[in-house]
């Protein structure tokens, strides 16, 4: 009983530490905040119920993999056809200096990326996973993970600069 309480406390701590990045990752797959929230809750409640986190060597990577599997399963069940930026009113980020326009630009630009590139960007920047961890999670080589990241980052930069310039000119 004592061990299970310790396990729950550890899971709650992980939720506080990684919950935001996991929610963003689920958002990057499902595109809807409510669905992403359900996915993250589902993963953590399963962990509390089954206590399967103790068997994981890399707990952080295990959490992201669990969220990815749950989000993909959920998306398959719903047969998502709408574009990812359809839920455009719900924010994904808390922007610096109340830059809500920048937040909207970032969200839309991320949504316009291909799924595999968007996943790598979110996992590396906000999930703070290494390319080695990402490669295991996505079953790709570390080089592929790194090249996807560089390519996606270039597109983000270009797209956000263009949007910010057009906003500044208008």
């Amino acid at each position: 009983m004592h061990r299970s309480h310790r396990n729950i406390a550890e899971i709650e701590l992980l939720y506080r530490q990684q919950g935001s990045a996991l929610l963003l990752f689920a958002l990057a797959i499902t595109g809807e905040r409510s669905r992403a929230q359900d996915v993250v809750h589902h993963v953590f409640l399963n962990l509390i119920e089954k206590g399967s986190l103790r068997r994981a060597a890399d707990k952080k990577a295990y959490l992201f993999a669990s969220v990815r599997n749950a989000a993909l399963n959920e998306s398959k069940l719903r047969e998502r056809t709408a574009p990812l930026d359809g839920d455009s009113h719900a924010a994904w980020f808390d922007p610096p200096d109340h830059d809500y326009m920048g937040e909207q630009n970032l969200r839309r630009t991320l949504g316009a990326l291909p799924d595999d590139q968007r996943e790598v960007i979110v996992l590396h920047i906000w999930g703070e996973l290494t390319f080695s961890q990402i490669s295991e999670l996505l079953s790709i080589s570390p080089n592929t993970a790194a090249s996807r990241y560089r390519y996606a980052l270039g597109k983000l930069r270009e797209s956000m600069s263009t949007k910010e310039n057009s906003c500044a000119n208008s």
């Binding site: 953590f44 994904w92 808390d94 600069s161």
Partner: protein, 133 residues
């Protein structure tokens, strides 16, 4: 805002912090210390209820014993708590030291058990019969 190189752009992106998720539905209800407190409070309540029941039963038994010792009837006669019949009246007559004592015993006997309608009590039968002394 111009974004010169990759590292600065990464730092710029990291300034956008992902929104925090809603709290876990079970986070408040599974707190170990609070859970144990509820268990101990429940156990204490059960013990208190059991102690109350035992104390009440002991008190009731003491009152019952006190009530029997205050009765005017003799102990061996009071022990027989069945309805007063001819047989028990005969037994009383054998045991009693005198007729007066027997009648006194019957008169002060508590009539707790009602007789059926078709039967008479021993006092009723004795009242109808002529007894030669």
């Amino acid at each position: 805002m111009p974004i010169p190189d990759e590292e600065r752009f990464e730092a710029h992106l990291k300034q956008f912090r992902p929104l925090a998720p809603e709290p876990l539905p079970v986070a408040g209800s599974v707190h170990p210390a609070r859970g144990m407190l509820v268990v101990w409070a429940g156990a204490a309540a059960v013990v208190a209820i059991l102690a109350g029941i035992v104390a009440l039963r002991v008190h009731t038994q003491r009152v019952g014993v006190a009530g029997t010792t205050n009765s005017p009837a003799t102990p061996d006669l009071v022990a027989d708590r069945g309805p007063l019949t001819m047989r028990s009246a005969d037994a009383l007559m054998v045991k009693a030291p005198s007729l007066k004592a027997m009648v006194d015993d019957m008169a002060f006997r508590p009539q707790t058990v009602p007789l059926p309608k078709d039967k008479l009590s021993a006092v009723g039968v004795l009242g109808k019969e002529k007894i030669k002394l």
